[in-house]
Symmetry: C2
Subunit: 249 residues, 2 copies
DNA sequence: CCGACTTTGTGCATGCGTTCACAAGCGGTA
DNA sequence: TACCGCTTGTGAACGCATGCACAAAGTCGG
């Protein structure tokens, strides 16, 4: 079912066989960083920077320069030794590898607190992710435009997603509704899902899910506070003050 | 400066020496999963489940059962062979390791689209993360209550953060303001920052930053679509149809 | 009390990701 | 053209995380 629109997508920007091999091999972690490099590089273009070294770019992106070079090497050799990288060339290659040569239409499901924020957010279209459809179960919301797009009823999800060629579905419903919404997105042919609801979604193999769980993020931060406070306590009993000074040498 | 409130925190829930060693050794990836297990287990408690096996819990959390057991082993041996884990015991141990035995007061900076959603969100307080302070630079917003809390002016950040013992700062301002806001949070003594602005923040070593970058998440999804479409194209030229059937054997 | 059955906890192998360190390559200069 | 200094690209080593497979340790029925 999901492959119905598949053939149409094959016509966009065919990759060279060599690139194909590489794309398969890029580690997930490197992909995430490539997206960050892309953002930094876009800023460079705006500032009129034409060339950048791995050292400079790695600083701006907050990573090790060796890691940066390795990440870039996954997508090919587009630098000039002794000089650095041509910013625009790098941008276009990263965009190509990340599949940003075509637009990815986004649907948001659940137009509550978070859904409103997402729909109103101006940052996505400019980066190739136009929000083209909004869905909610609340009759009072249906028809109301949010961020310029009228809310559709969740029942119409299959038709509307097909019409607008939605490729990414964002789930911003309460947790109990998330799995059902996910199932509907999947049967509407959406293969990429970004989930804000704190639940583990079950999906078929051909669907990619990423989750954003703010409570988990905070708990990780909490863990580090606790660990740090504990190390301080530990150091204290070992005769080292909290500011690093030795109390009783 | 950040250590001013440090000593007060040392009094909360001292860990046993054995736990201390363990806490230091827990891999970051495992910490993130422990938070997920905790959420799932909390749901189990509500359903009246008293005991759970690693197999069941791993299913519910969407991970491999061996990995789950290894993760749990980082925090100690609290299971019963042949039976499984006592849900409540496990909950309390994970909470202890994650430092959730004390509340972590949260401040949100930048009360725009996203800041409003965060301030109105009811999910944080119940998980030990009460939002106790809101800040914005916009005079029209100052004094207006959002989610029950009046917005303070950004200039008052140091005083207010100290008063309300803020331990986590959330940045939801436009990107150009993020680094300045971050610096102010840091000098106000906040050691944990959750950043929604798509910029790389520079912070001292004793401050922990986590970022949530939705555009990056979408680009990762985009990469997978591209890779998949490409594999399909590849299979096609090798004589395999998009639905997996061989066309010309 | 015993033996069969269940499930944990972990040693070990494997694979992935990071980092180091340097040869190869390029531009500039004399 | 030949040399010099700079930066890339990557082989190789290391460390961390994952998953397997099984001994150890417990429960439960008889
Ligand atoms: N607001 C936040 O800052 C925040 C933070 C972290 C996580 N989350 C998570 O994001 C999700 C949304 O949060 P929120 O604060 O926007 O909630 P909300 O209650 O404000 O909005 C939920 C919306 O989903 C709609 N909805 C409910 N069932 C639906 C269904 N079956 N199909 C379509 N729409 C449906 C509701 O009508 C409502 O408009 C929740 O799962 C929440 O846990 C939110
Ligand atoms: N809205 C979203 O769904 C979304 C999605 C992804 C990322 N983001 C990011 O989150 C951030 C906030 O997005 P938003 O849509 O809420 O923006 P917004 O423009 O709606 O709100 C920003 C708020 O920050 C305030 N502000 C500006 N400078 C400030 C300063 N120096 N100190 C304190 N407050 C200040 C503004 O007054 C405004 O109220 C942005 O960086 C954006 O890129 C937002």
């Amino acid at each position: 079912m999901a492959s119905q629109r598949g053939e149409g997508e094959l016509t966009t920007t065919p990759l060279e066989p060599a690139d194909r091999e590489r794309a398969r091999a890029i580690p997930e972690a490197a992909v995430a960083r490539l997206a960050v490099y892309l953002r930094v590089l876009s800023g460079m273009v705006d500032q009129g920077v034409t060339t950048i070294s791995s050292e400079e770019l790695s600083q701006a992106a907050g990573v090790n320069s060796a890691k940066l070079r390795k990440d870039l090497s996954y997508i090919g050799s587009y630098g000039t030794r002794g000089v650095g990288y041509d910013v625009e060339v790098l941008v276009s290659h990263i965009e190509r590898i990340l599949g940003l040569t075509r637009k990815h239409s986004v649907a948001v499901v659940g137009i509550g607190n978070l859904g409103h924020a997402l729909a109103n957010y101006g940052g996505f279209p400019g980066r190739g992710f136009p929000v083209t459809a909004l869905f909610d179960v609340d009759e009072d919301l249906v028809g109301v435009p949010v961020g310029g797009i009228p809310v559709n009823h969740i029942e119409d999800i299959t038709t509307v997603c097909a019409e607008r060629e939605v490729s990414i579905g964002v789930i911003a419903t309460p947790p109990p509704a998330a799995q059902a919404v996910c199932d509907r997105l999947v049967s509407a042919g959406v293969q990429c899902i970004l989930n804000f609801a704190p639940v583990v979604l079950q999906v078929p193999d051909n669907v990619e899910v990423r989750k954003v769980d703010l409570a988990v993020e905070m708990q990780i931060l909490s863990f580090h506070v606790a660990r740090r406070a504990d190390e301080a306590a530990n150091d204290l009993v070992n005769g080292i003050g909290v500011d690093g000074m030795v109390i009783r040498p």
